[in-house]
């Protein structure tokens, strides 16, 4: 196997291990649009990173946290529905990001690479980020797991029974921002939400408990990465979209099985 493909495979597997369980909560808590908005903001973070000469992932993290805070502030006013607020913030951030990055032409920023990912150009530093950052993210998720499950089932009931709902939800929002920052380079900001949504959606059919669904989502993610990379090399097609299509095929297979076995 070529060296760069092996690195891409390792990186993709590392990302799938983290996006599986985190993505399950995004599906359960109906936060797909929130994830999308954070991802769109990532490009602004890349521009910030270039402008201030800091690591692009830290720039991304800062921009995503900024967006989450602005969203919380606007939500408190209760004047507009959350999806409208997200629509405003998400597309503004994406547009400002594209403008900022294109103004930096001298830096030769690969816009397409950031939008759709460039998993074949993954470096050893990227791998290190994915595995240490991913391990940290999983530890944080394990720490809030029980409380977050209780909140997901019924927020008010959890609150009445002593779960610190605000702190746990804030931690989870930061966690999503962190995952996007470390996975952005591989799948791209326009496609990263698909790695959070599609593997859990494919795993639902086979799961009886939340933990099972998280594990199956990881497996579905790893299969998608491997199949997508293979397709990418075989047909010389862009890797990020190939991975997403592979995940979608898995999803459709799991769904048709559900319908054929008469449980749809």
């Amino acid at each position: 196997m070529e060296d760069f493909i092996l690195r891409a495979l390792l990186g993709g597997i590392g990302v799938a291990i983290v996006t599986g369980p985190v993505g399950c909560f995004i599906v359960w808590r109906k936060m797909a649009y929130f994830g999308d908005s954070l991802a769109h903001t990532a490009l602004l973070g890349v521009a910030l990173g270039f402008a201030f000469g800091i690591d692009l992932r830290l720039g991304t993290l800062a921009a995503c946290i900024g967006l989450a805070l602005v969203l919380l502030l606007l939500q408190r006013q209760r004047k507009l529905p959350t999806d409208t607020l997200l629509g405003v913030l998400s597309h503004t951030a994406l547009s400002v990001g594209i403008i900022a990055v294109s103004l930096m032409e001298t830096l030769q920023v690969d816009l397409m690479g950031y939008l759709f990912g460039d998993i074949l150009a993954i470096s050893d530093t990227d791998l290190l980020w994915i595995y240490t950052g991913g391990a940290a993210a999983l530890c944080a998720l394990a720490w809030i797991w029980r409380d977050l499950i209780a909140i997901t089932v019924h927020e008010e009931l959890a609150s009445a029974e002593g779960v610190p709902t605000f702190g746990v939800q804030l931690t989870f929002m930061l966690l999503i921002a962190f995952v996007i920052a470390i996975a952005m380079k591989l799948i791209g900001i326009l496609l990263i939400t698909s790695m959070l949504i599609i593997p859990p959606a494919a795993a639902r059919r086979f799961s009886k408990t939340p933990e099972q669904m998280a594990v199956f989502a990881v497996l579905a993610g790893i299969i998608s990465v491997a199949a997508g990379l293979w397709g990418s090399v075989e047909w010389n097609a862009p890797a990020g979209p190939c991975i997403v299509v592979a995940a979608s095929v898995l999803f459709l297979l799991s769904h048709s099985w559900e319908m054929l076995s008469g449980r749809g």
């Binding site: 359960w28 029980r146 997901t152 089932v153 959890a158 029974e161 779960v163 859990p200 639902r204």
Partner: protein
């Protein structure tokens, strides 16, 4: 029934506004152990809000709430819809925020007449079964006060009487206080010891 030692929750002179809307206007009540108190009133009268204030989930603008020290509460919320994407069994629902033993879970389900449901997915339960499971869940906390927000919603007519009978029976066996929200005056009259009627504040 109303001597101070048996009082679980006492509230007086509660006022609460959300923006322009007055939700609670000079509300007060006492709940004692072994008593069933029902809050009735139309939608928007502030019944659920009052319960949240009594439980300490939100604060009133003024007035006093006094809960017995160390009061244990079993709460059955009004709206309980689990998203179909979330795989949840009854067993898991019972152990969300505490860790009851297998034996405790079985006994609790038996007490509410839902003994065989332990490994069922919550999404497949009927309205009545779901209310019983939520009741079993509240009982696992060994509550001195049971708080039930619209316990008979989505339950058919015979099921409603059965549920009220069950709640009365639980009160008799355990001697706990029950605070219930309802908008069905007819059944409530039969099963409550006391009622508090909330109107829409002007």
């Amino acid at each position: 029934m109303n001597d101070a030692r048996r009082n679980l929750v006492t509230a007086a002179n509660l006022y609460l506004r959300f923006g322009e809307t007055t939700i609670l206007h000079n509300v007060g009540l006492d709940i004692s152990a072994g008593e069933i108190l029902t809050l009735i009133g139309p939608n928007g009268a502030g019944k659920t809000t009052l319960v949240r204030v009594l439980l300490g989930l939100i604060k009133s603008d003024s007035g006093e709430v006094h809960r017995k020290e160390g009061l244990t509460v079993g709460y059955v919320p009004q709206i309980f819809a689990v998203d179909p994407s979330f795989p949840l069994t009854v067993r898991r629902l019972l152990s969300l925020t505490q860790k009851p033993s297998q034996k405790q879970m079985n006994e609790s389900l038996k007490e509410v007449g839902a003994g065989n449901l332990l490994d069922y997915p919550v999404g497949t339960l009927s309205g009545g079964e779901r209310q019983r499971v939520l009741l079993a869940r509240a009982l696992l906390r060994n509550p001195e006060l049971l708080v039930l927000d619209e316990p008979i919603q989505n339950v058919d007519m015979t099921g409603q009487t059965e549920l009220y009978d069950l709640i009365t029976q639980i009160r008799d066996n355990r001697g706990c206080g029950v605070l219930m929200i309802s908008h069905d005056l007819h059944l409530v009259m039969e099963f409550s010891d006391d009622m508090l009627i909330l109107g829409i504040p002007q």
